[in-house]
């Protein structure tokens, strides 16, 4: 935790638009995306934003549709903040941070209709594809949220449908087909943060200690907003919220370029 004087020191630096690593307030670190990093998954990707590294894997299965949505496939997004990636993370079931991370990515993908779950149907009420996206943090140097969403999206793009055996289940031993997932819009998450009266993006772990409020905005390629999540203890005015959405829209192409 930062004390008052250290906070004041940070605010003075931000006032001059110089962050701890020399970046400007609205500048992202270097972003890279690698596809197909897990031979066991039906689709996978690794995303690096600066030193932060996250991987995502997609497993597909043939399942029964949920009773209240008999004509849709199933989609689930899970995240694990692995103790591998940060000395503060513990083993055990996902805590608050991991759960929030997964749900915000889930909303972006689901609400933007990134995957048209109706196209996943095999037989109404009986069989549909189930898609499981699992996101794992590998090295946490800040901004896991944006990296997680990008990794999930990249993993979906990497997916190739597996073959279905004669029993109607997935044949994991056979080679995958060439068929890709029918993807709709592609949401990119940008988390905009308020420290003092400055807006910043892509925070380092050290900077994350000083966050007053944050807004994660999922932006589609049509520049519409697909999901929102406000965090942090300080309130935000309507003007601030609007400005933060604007920043997210302006910066989403930077991450999208890396795909």
């Amino acid at each position: 935790m930062m004390n008052q004087e250290q906070r004041a020191h940070l605010l003075r630096a931000l006032a001059k638009n110089v962050r701890f690593d020399g970046r400007k307030a609205l500048e992202y670190r270097q972003i890279s995306v690698e596809y197909g990093i897990s031979a066991s998954a039906e689709g996978s990707a690794r995303v690096r934003i600066g030193g932060t590294e996250v991987i995502a894997g997609v497993k597909m299965e043939v399942a029964t549709p949920y009773p209240d949505t008999p004509n849709q496939g199933n989609l689930m997004v899970n995240a694990e903040l692995l103790p591998l990636s940060n000395p503060k993370f513990e083993t055990g079931p996902p805590g608050e941070q991991a759960t929030e991370l997964a749900r915000v990515v889930d909303r972006a993908i689901r609400e933007s209709k990134c995957i048209d779950v109706h196209k996943l149907l095999i037989k109404s009420g009986e069989k549909a594809w189930g898609i499981n996206i699992d996101i794992c943090s590998i090295n946490d140097e800040g901004n896991l949220q944006d990296a997680a969403c990008l990794a999930a999206l990249a993993a979906l793009k990497d997916v190739r449908f597996p073959k279905i055996s004669e029993h109607g289940k997935v044949d994991y031993d056979a080679d995958k087909t060439d068929e890709k997932l029918p993807l709709g819009k592609e949401p990119i998450e940008v988390t905009v943060v308020k420290i003092g009266d400055q807006f910043l993006v892509d925070l380092l772990s050290d900077e994350e200690e000083a966050i007053e409020a944050r807004l994660t905005v999922a932006v589609t390629e049509k520049n519409t907003v697909a999901a929102l999540q406000k965090g942090g203890q300080a309130p935000l005015s309507l003007e601030e919220l609007d400005k933060m959405v604007e920043i997210a829209q302006k910066l989403a192409p930077t991450l999208r370029k890396a795909l």
Binding site: Q6, H9, A13, V18, F20, G22, D206
Partner: protein
């Protein structure tokens, strides 16, 4: 029986690797004797001094040592003092009597002196076998660090960051106009103009990466010149490479 050293000076070796054969060679720090051989006991750089073979550690946690000046963070305020975290498996205690020459009245609010989250430069005055550590604030240069920022480096690299007689860190201070305090435990405090701090941190990280390679001082001087756009004099002639 051949007596020979089978590795080069400054070679990087891994645990279990044979360094020398023969009883005339002595196992220094980081090595051990296995039958008639001297063997590496960690990942490190070979350093041969006469018949003594030792390893220079390239990584590892800080182990508290008497008289070391360290930077600690207050994590608890006790009845009789403060508990500090100093980036080690163990915490340190600063008692009232070692905290200041001023008289602290009974029942005083100790957070007036050092509060949670404060960083202080202190000196280790006692380490028990169970690694309980006592520190003192009484001594030159020991003080509370106000504001500024803290970066962490591997404690093994601290000697290179300080340099011979402090020459390396002084060079960085002069070039970046930052106040810098280096703790033996690998915590470094900086305070200066934001852009100066960024350059200082980059220089420190560069030393950390390249500490085991030669020509370090001139490389850092060149780096500082490039970043600040100003001439830098590598303070020491010869001295630390």
């Amino acid at each position: 029986m051949t007596e020979e050293i089978v590795v080069q000076d400054k070679e990087i070796v891994v645990p279990g690797e044979k360094l020398a054969k023969g009883m005339s060679f002595l196992p220094g720090p980081g090595t051990y004797r296995d039958n008639d051989c001297v063997v590496a006991q960690k990942l490190g750089m070979v350093s041969v001094e006469g018949k003594v073979i030792k390893l220079i550690s390239l990584s590892g946690k800080y182990l508290p040592k008497m008289k070391d000046k360290i930077i600690g963070k207050v994590i608890d305020v006790l009845m009789t003092g403060w508990r500090l975290d100093f980036n080690s498996p163990y915490s340190a205690v600063l008692t009232l009597k070692d905290a200041t020459s001023d008289f602290i009245p009974r029942g005083a609010d100790l957070t007036q002196y050092y509060a949670l989250g404060d960083h202080i430069v202190c000196q280790i005055v006692n380490v028990t076998s169970q690694k309980l550590v006592d520190v003192s604030m009484k001594g030159p240069g020991l003080r509370k660090l106000r504001g500024g920022r803290i970066v962490e480096v591997s404690p093994m690299k601290v000697p290179r960051i300080i340099g011979k007689d402090g020459s390396m860190v002084q060079m960085i201070k002069d070039a970046t106009k930052c106040d810098i305090v280096v703790g033996q435990n690998g915590l470094i405090w900086l305070d200066g103009d934001p852009s100066g701090e960024v350059i200082a941190v980059k220089a420190i990280k560069k030393i950390e990466e390249e500490a085991h390679l030669g020509g370090l001082t001139s490389r850092i001087a060149t780096f500082l010149e490039k970043e600040t756009g100003q001439k830098v004099s590598a303070a020491v002639q010869g001295g630390a490479q």
